[in-house]
Symmetry: C2
Subunit: 337 residues, 2 copies
């Protein structure tokens, strides 16, 4: 076993890569939520000036990437890799965003876990000596997701109470091999977990077991107690999924007082009519690149476990009666190392 | 710049990971082609005993993975990572194949470049010290691809002469940090190239510029001449795309006598009515895991450049009038190091 391996799923980075740039771009509704002050750009026009929702999603990614690079004081040619993906069929939100960027590109699909997956791989590529700078990025768009996964917006379908609201947003993180931090110190890569949930309008319940499994494994393999993190943040289980994770830990005799979820943070659950909260690749991405990065830089949180959760279903698999395979990747972030 | 970096897109692996297992599983038509003797398993039933084409694709991946592990003498629990993806919306071929495998999973989307992308990332994770064993895997299925990308099979649509035939197959490569080879020595990660081709029935022409760009960059950054490779094999440009790449090099004054393409190798282009050749993630995967691995082990080729090509379009992007962004990742393989 390699010296960097702490167990079956966790690696420790010997030279923790530093986050040197981060940016988040959101739509109108997100800009009316409680995290408005943490976003770099709030568009009043969810089309982002484009002629389709899919092109709008690419426009968001381009803006997130250029803003993050600008904040890092880097040009795109300084990037050794962009690792990115999104929820659209064939990840076209990403493909058309990265086109013309003149950067080596590695496409990912991790559903809503993509921000954590891209950050994991970017951190390992840097720590492994393959890159000096890399970008991790993802996006989602309420309108492109509704059309693709559910029904056209014009249909006006009812949403059950367990449903979540796909965030219109894109987040981008720039990692460098050296820097003042926050740093990526550990990566726990998830296994697929499927407890048989078949309701595609209840993804929080489908993904909660994966989050529980990855967080538990991370704590066991690193030998850390939950209290050693200032915040353990899943993304995006929503209210119901978050409560399931807390409940499962409680049954183990562990009270996770520091557990939060990007899907519950981004919206006012009561006031914004989003039922269980936010979802979509963009949700955890913009909360990470906004609230969480600001909080770490301002000293509010010193050590944080970012746990991206993804539901690996498709409309076709649901139509074929399949349950929902889910995954959660955890990334430990720390300031002052 | 890191010591492993040879240029903007190429890294050299200090401890070249070794391919210790490889397997390929194909359908009926592929089993009637010229590479029949190189496949591990040829199914006479393209449903692979499943009730949908999508589930058949997952069944192929599971069989490819278990066969490759068995040939490597490893259990799934020996794997530190599975890196895999496919062409289906939300990569469900892969998600449902990896479910239940009890292995940390990183999902990728690189369209038909996924075999090269997964091999690239697996090799870097091993060389970086993050893993001892990793699997790189992908699949495609003619019937699931036709339904999703074109029209239901029952429709019996005409295919233009530039069209390619999606391979029904899955290939899996197991990499280890040590072993007798063949080894992965260099990885050249592609940039997205888009020369404005909009015809989704002519992906060879769309992807050829990406292949040309990546091969040229690889040769420049490694300082190697084309003749230092026994074989440069793209996958899967088909006949037309392959000829475009050869022609572009010819204009540079370089005669690529050793250029071949997985899409032209896998079928009898005249006799099997496949027009320009094979395509799909599974095409380059099964040619690599079959013909190319056997040829390297038998001493037919000592040094090989495997160049996976992918077209990052979707039916939606085509309907919106977009051109086809393409990518090519190159992986250098060598025996006797």
């Amino acid at each position: 076993m390699s010296g960097k391996r702490m167990g079956r799923q966790t690696v420790m980075l010997e030279h923790p890569p530093s986050i040197v740039g981060h940016a988040c771009v959101v739509g109108h509704k997100e800009g009316e939520g409680p995290l408005a002050a943490t976003f770099d750009f709030i568009s009043q026009d969810d089309s982002f000036g484009e002629r389709s929702w899919e092109k709008a999603e690419s426009a968001m990614q381009r803006l997130a990437l250029s803003t993050a690079l600008s904040k890092a004081g880097l040009s795109p040619t300084a990037l050794d890799y962009v690792l990115a993906g999104d929820l659209l069929n064939q990840c076209i939100g990403t493909g058309f965003a990265v086109r013309g960027q003149d950067v080596p590109f590695l496409g990912l699909y991790g559903a809503c876990s993509t921000m954590a997956e891209s950050l994991s791989l970017a951190a390992m590529l840097l720590d492994g000596g393959f890159a000096n700078h890399a970008a991790a990025m993802t996006s989602s768009h309420f309108c492109s997701a509704e059309r693709q996964y559910r029904a056209p917006l014009e249909y006006g379908g009812q949403r059950p109470p367990t449903a979540q609201w796909t965030v219109t947003g894109s987040g981008c993180i720039i990692l460098a091999d050296t820097g003042p931090g926050p740093c990526v110190t550990h990566v726990t890569t998830g296994k697929i977990v499927d407890k048989g949930i078949k309701d595609a309008a209840n993804m929080g319940a489908a993904m909660a077991p994966a989050a529980y499994h990855t967080i538990k494994t991370h704590l066991e393999e690193t030998g850390r107690k939950p209290s050693e993190y200032d915040l353990i943040v899943t993304g995006d289980l929503g209210q119901l999924g978050r409560d399931i994770v807390a409940d499962w830990f409680r049954r183990d005799g562990v009270e996770l007082n520091n557990l939060s979820d990007c899907g519950t943070l981004i919206f006012d659950l009561e006031g914004q009519d989003v039922h269980c909260g936010g979802s979509g690749c963009g949700c955890s991405a913009v909360v990470l690149a906004g609230l969480l990065m600001r909080g770490m830089r301002e000293g509010r949180w010193k050590r944080l476990l970012f746990c991206g959760t993804g539901a690996l279903l498709s409309p076709t698999s649901t139509q074929q009666g399949e349950s929902i395979p889910s995954i959660c990747h955890a990334v430990a972030l720390e300031v002052g190392r």
